[in-house]
Symmetry: C3
Subunit: 344 residues, 3 copies
């Protein structure tokens, strides 16, 4: 693709020769001759200057550092993502409904759908325009899905779940399985019927083998723009605020309320009924047992302010030494023998 | 449903007008006019009095606090769960075997089964009465399953697994995949054949995308009444005692022995060969490396008694301050310079 | 099977009566009369002497301790694994392509394949000799797979993934789902197209419901001999070195580089861009945020040298006591009241 065409399709200013043929987009450490790359801030200036790339998408301030041609952008990472899309349009199966799909007579599927082999679509299901169901998607009865839905193989959407527009579910994601609730009764554990639903709003992406449980009563809610990575657990009755992101293997227990634009690291966990303020960030493996204020930044288990956590873990490895020094002082002061075993 | 009918079907005493029409069961914080709710103990008395609900299921001691009518119960949570079941019978596909199910000629399936589209049932499989297999369940050869089985879409049951009565497997659960065992041999890692099985007893529920590995030799055993949440790993040769519960994303390594009525929090982990006594409780994210006594309550990684863990984590964030104070004392006593770097 | 035949098939020296009929292989704690067992080192000598087993596979040094007959081996665990294989050949469906498999006209499948019910194989897929696809395997277009592949039910292999020889994917494993990458743009989160691939080399085994994400650009690489347990997350652009092993529920964030012959415990996690040297070992639940040297042995979160971690966690539970003792010293020295709240 010619550089001029790339700039035109991005609607951005090109400084350099539009006739240059670009072979590939590549990150700055891998970009060679004929390639287009990008940089987002001054710390990449040196790498940019050293690069053999034919062109870089850069902010105005890095214009001078660009190796050859430059495309000037307010948001180079965003515009580079668009270039990736130009070079590699995502795989999309041809429209049409595979002959092996089993679709209930009263299900309604919008125009331009691609329904893959062995999909199963239950009674009363309604799906909007331009849906892509890869093979082996199972949609239980009564599900409602908006436009531009993508469901990858092995996805399960349980009865009565509601899904908005432009939602993507990666392979093996399970939406609306029963919440985990049992009550003891005379030496038995009796299941609490999980009669609530799940609402997934617009522009949500849910990762491979992630599970979002249905509510006991009411609904588990995943708001607009939420992004969930793989192998995440969302318990019954949780609510995830707009544009919040969770990294892989993190989990919410029941009835957790998460604000907007939060970011949770991998393997982090949240206890029942915790409330998390907007824009809170939680580092990987943290264990959140208490409510978090807006803009909180926490780590550790139980989670504490990141600033304190960092200092704490810097001292922790020296605990044995601290115990020894304490004992030395006690000996000096003649304080030993008052109940401390001396095993330190 | 009329209140009198609800009380009659529960077999419980109604105090109030049986002619009241109940529209919905709801938790106490959401229950409005015409709804039925419940409360389990005195701490809910105030909420109960303030509620606009038409009726509450309450223990005798809360009878006076009920907003309007009352249904008196020894176990309100249990009886409320039954009310949920009355109002919202769970989705159950019609009986019958879908034409697309692939069933081995010698498989035996009991009466009243509902076998969904694209299920695959292998040679020699025996399934009891009233099974519900949602679409896309795969049962490998030689599996034996009792009565009243429910398998949701995407479930895999590997060769030779044994399953009892009234067992439910949620979407994507995998029972009997190979345990994780390899032996080094001349610069290679050679698989140890996993030739054992899995035994799931009666009344077990296993969550979405949870994996229960087959034994290397012998059997991995999940005893009666066990409840496993989503995304749990049960390693080869584990044994889970009756009515024990594990929350989401927790995991047992190999050969762990768990007693009865244990409760494990989310993301908790158990090392190889650990033995856990009856009724032990392990909090979320704990890491259990040593055997636990009956009725133990532990947290942390490595897990310690919860009482000690709570005190420990209360002091930990003050470690940098403790180190500073220690240094101040040493300076006062002229003890500095004895090998501590002063970096505290 | 006669003992003489077992020794012959192993190609090992038998000391004892080759005519003995062996009924079962069993681990030493379970081995009874007529069974064959094994032991790897002197710590098993007593158990070996006490065993009723008919035969044990032992190293030369344990020859005298064997209960009855002995098979002498340089690597008893390896040779016992071979015995398991002799007694219990793994389940393998009959060769042939099930009539319900949906295979693209231009897909090429090698000789002796067994393709199960409802498998879906996309356009341009190439699969080598002797593949076993259990039911419900979905292979997206453009995938290339070597010889002797095994894919269990529910496996998904996304577009363009490359897989070597003798690779096994357990049930529900997902190879090549989109990496987790989004860029903020004007109040929205825009997906970064994940246009890279996944390369799985020879002799890899990947566990049930484990997810290996495709690269943003370039490839996520799983080198020869790697073994991944269940429910593991491998983020985009990671590279796992030869013969490295990860236990269940562990995870790598993006662009992690792992050396050869590493071993990672269950639920351990690795931050973005971490580099791990050859043979590094990481204990369960550790959180690795910094590069690890070759042969490192670390634990904790953040992970530190295991030697230090062990000492640290031995002292940690005594922190409240340490704080009390510190305060007592300060009181003795008249140092109290200098800003420490006294709440210790």
């Amino acid at each position: 693709m010619k550089l001029g065409e790339i700039a035109a399709r991005l609607g951005l200013r090109l400084e350099g020769d539009g006739e240059i043929e670009i072979t590939l987009p590549a990150p700055i450490e891998a970009a060679g001759p004929g390639m287009i790359t990008f940089a987002v801030g001054p710390k990449y200036a040196a790498a940019l200057k050293a690069s053999a790339a034919a062109c870089a998408i850069v902010p105005e301030e890095l214009r001078a550092a660009a190796p050859g041609a430059a495309i000037v952008s307010d948001n180079p990472a965003f515009d580079f993502a668009r270039v990736l899309g130009l070079f590699f349009p995502p795989y999309r199966p041809a429209p049409g409904i595979d002959a092996t799909a089993v679709i209930a007579p009263d299900a309604r599927i919008g125009a331009d759908a691609s329904i893959g082999a062995y999909c199963v679509i239950g009674a009363g299901v309604v799906i909007g325009r331009a849906a892509v169901l890869h093979p082996h998607v199972t949609i239980y009865p009564g599900v409602r899905i908006g436009d531009d839905f993508t469901g990858h193989s092995g996805v399960a959407i349980r009865e009565g779940v509601t899904i908005g527009n432009r939602v993507t579910l990666l392979n093996g994601a399970v939406i609306g399985a029963d919440g985990f609730g049992f009550v003891e009764h005379r030496g038995d554990l009796v299941k609490i019927p999980q009669v609530g639903g799940v609402i997934i709003e617009d522009d949500v992406e849910i990762g491979a083998n992630t599970t979002v449980d249905r509510a006991t009563m009411g609904a588990t809610i995943v708001r607009r723009g939420v992004k969930l990575d793989n192998l995440i657990q969302i318990g019954h009755n949780c609510e995830l605020g707009e544009y919040s992101r969770m990294a892989a293997q993190s989990g919410l227990a029941g009835s957790v309320r998460v604000g907007k634009w939060c970011q949770f690291g991998g393997q982090s966990g949240f206890a029942d009924h915790v409330r998390v303020g907007d824009r809170a960030r939680v580092i990987a493996q943290a264990g959140v047992h208490n409510d978090l204020a807006e803009d909180a930044l926490v780590g550790g288990a139980p989670a504490i302010a990141m600033k304190i956590f960092r200092r704490m873990v810097a001292v922790e490895p020296r605990l044995p030494e601290i115990a020894r020094r304490l004992r030395a002082i006690e000996q000096r002061l003649g304080l030993r023998g008052r109940g401390d075993g001396g095993a330190d």
